[in-house]
């Protein structure tokens, strides 16, 4: 196995901070993510994991009164630079949300390919092809192949989440952010998503928030541990879960805290 620490850095946060009005939710995070790795973020509820993740693709700023400071470098370029087009940033850093959010007025097929449509791709064969590939990757194809034209919202919660994953994959983003993507899924669907992540890791970099320690230990290459907007520890998952440096991390992963 090649040394993960030698892989190329694709995304870096530098002194990244976030606020909701006066509330300081993310307090100066500096970390880098390597190409084609899975990076888990763990930590107690309310510690700012989602907020941090949402700063990485500039969704955080869409909330009224929310703001950020610091830098996020995607392949060396600061996505918060004034000259950078936020639309382009979000195309290259995809996101899957905690709660499945397919577009309610769209069919399953349209939901998957909407990202491509936004980029001006309208050739039907291309769209159908991409839809099949992405739905297969998201382990949903067999369940929906006969009803691609039914509404996306007619699916079960877990299926909707896999639909959202397919939708995010369709635009082929080099970095994929996932906020507790399996918290609404049953163990079988969860296993499928984990399998999927191992698969997409060959092409993408994944940053995933999870409350499931076993999941983080199973699938991730690196893990960060957050408490109250601070990153307490970041390192190879193998180290964090067997031999954490910080007492707080040890307490949390052994279930004594949080």
């Amino acid at each position: 196995m090649p040394n993960l620490n030698d892989a190329k850095v694709i995304l870096e946060a530098k002194k990244l901070e976030a606020w909701f009005g006066d509330f300081h939710a993310v307090k100066g995070i500096t970390v880098d993510y390597r190409e084609k790795t899975i990076n888990a973020i763990i930590g107690p509820s309310g510690c700012g994991k989602s907020t941090y993740l949402r700063c990485l693709n500039r969704i955080h700023e869409e909330i009224e009164g929310a703001r950020t400071a610091g830098e996020v470098l995607l392949e060396g370029k600061n996505i918060y630079d004034k000259k950078v087009d936020v639309v382009d940033v979000r195309r290259r850093i995809g996101m899957v949300f905690q709660k499945p959010n397919p577009f309610p007025s769209m069919s399953i097929l349209d939901n998957v390919v909407i990202g491509l449509r936004l980029q001006g791709i309208s050739k039907r064969s291309t769209l159908l092809e991409t839809a099949e590939v992405c739905l297969r990757k998201a382990a949903l194809w067999d369940e929906v192949k006969d009803k691609l034209n039914s509404l996306g919202t007619s699916l079960s919660g877990g299926q909707q989440q896999r639909l959202c994953i397919a939708r995010a994959l369709a635009v082929n983003p080099p970095v994929l952010l996932m906020d507790e993507p399996t918290s609404a899924l049953d163990p079988i669907a969860t296993a499928k998503i984990e399998e999927l992540m191992n698969e997409i890791k060959k092409e993408y970099t994944v940053i995933i928030v999870t409350h499931n320690m076993q999941q983080a230990a199973r699938i991730s290459d690196f893990t960060s541990f957050f408490v109250y907007g601070n990153m307490i520890e970041h390192g190879l998952s193998a180290d964090i879960f067997t031999n954490p440096k910080e007492k707080q991390t040890e307490d949390y992963i052994s279930g004594r805290f949080g």
Partner: protein
């Protein structure tokens, strides 16, 4: 003891509420009954041909409703064509562009427009809007769109277009406030889903806000239509009140409501009075149906 008291109280409340509801229903049925009764001579004389006859001639005592049905529908439709996009844009501006603190004030101001009495709109229309249409808008339309029959012929300021404009201003608050509450219902996660795929704000609005709101917007439009169909005072002052059917929007016309307001006082033959009542019945029927229609859309909207 206490038990007994609460029982009589409840019983009393029930009787009061039941009586009030019954009175309201009785009133509605009573109005319909009286209208039918008063319209009966005209219904007997004209029947359904009343609806399709173009002639409205009190001198010779011959009556047909077509010019008024035409005037009512055309002014209302033109008003909707103007008011709908304006209302949707206002609602989008308020919900998506203004910070919350300011948006409340702007929303309130827009809704205040609905509180302006119809007669005030009428006066403003006579003094400002009609001259504006005559001197600015009509010549402009004629030079650019004069090849359309809609914009041919002379404009005297007063006519279909002016009445439709005033109507559109009057129904914007209705439509925009319903649209606003529909847009506010769009969950933040839908907008974020759209942004996360790399949409511009314009694309986000199309994708996450407008496309799921189509049926809601339609019901807002139909409710606006209900208001436009029955509006009387301002329209009567601005439409020119002549029962003609013309393809030009500059032409004067008359609506069902405006002819009633104009003629009920000096209608002297029984058939004339009865024909006005027949018009009233028709107008009631049309607004009733359009309201019913709006309600079914709202229902299917809240279900889906």
């Amino acid at each position: 003891m206490i038990k007994l008291k609460s029982k009589t109280q409840d019983a009393l409340l029930f009787y009061v509420l039941r009586t009030i509801s019954l009175v309201v229903i009785a009133l509605l049925l009573g109005i319909i009954f009286v209208l039918i009764q008063a319209a009966w001579p005209a219904i007997k004389a004209g029947g359904l041909t009343f609806l399709f006859s173009k002639e409205w001639n009190p001198v010779e005592d011959r009556y047909g409703a077509l010019p008024f049905i035409f005037g009512t529908l055309v002014t209302s439709l033109v008003a909707l064509l103007i008011a709908t996009p304006v209302s949707v844009l206002i609602a989008l501006f308020i919900t998506e562009y203004l910070p919350k603190s300011i948006s409340r004030i702007v929303a309130l101001l827009v809704e205040m427009v609905a509180a302006i009495p119809s007669i005030v709109f009428g006066l403003w229309g006579v003094f400002y809007l009609a001259p504006f249409v005559k001197k600015v808008l009509a010549p402009l339309l004629k030079t650019h769109l004069g090849f359309l029959p809609l914009f041919q012929g002379p404009s005297f300021g007063i006519g279909i277009l002016t009445a439709a404009l005033i109507l559109s201003i009057m129904i914007v608050p209705t439509i925009s406030s319903i649209c606003r509450s529909i847009f506010e219902l769009v969950p933040a996660h839908q907008k974020e889903a759209s942004y996360a795929l790399g949409s511009t704000k314009y694309e986000m609005i199309k994708l996450a806000i407008l496309s799921p709101s189509v049926s809601g917007i339609s019901s807002a439009v139909v409710l606006g239509l209900g208001r436009a169909l029955g509006e009387t005072m301002a329209v009567t002052m601005l439409i020119g009140n002549s029962p003609v059917i013309s393809s030009s929007l500059f032409s004067p016309a008359a609506t069902m409501a405006s002819v009633m307001a104009n003629e009920y006082a000096d209608a002297n033959t029984p058939l004339h009075i009865s024909s006005l009542c027949y018009l009233a019945l028709l107008l009631f029927l049309i607004t009733f149906l359009s309201n019913l229609f709006a309600r079914t859309i709202v229902k299917s909207f809240s279900k889906g």
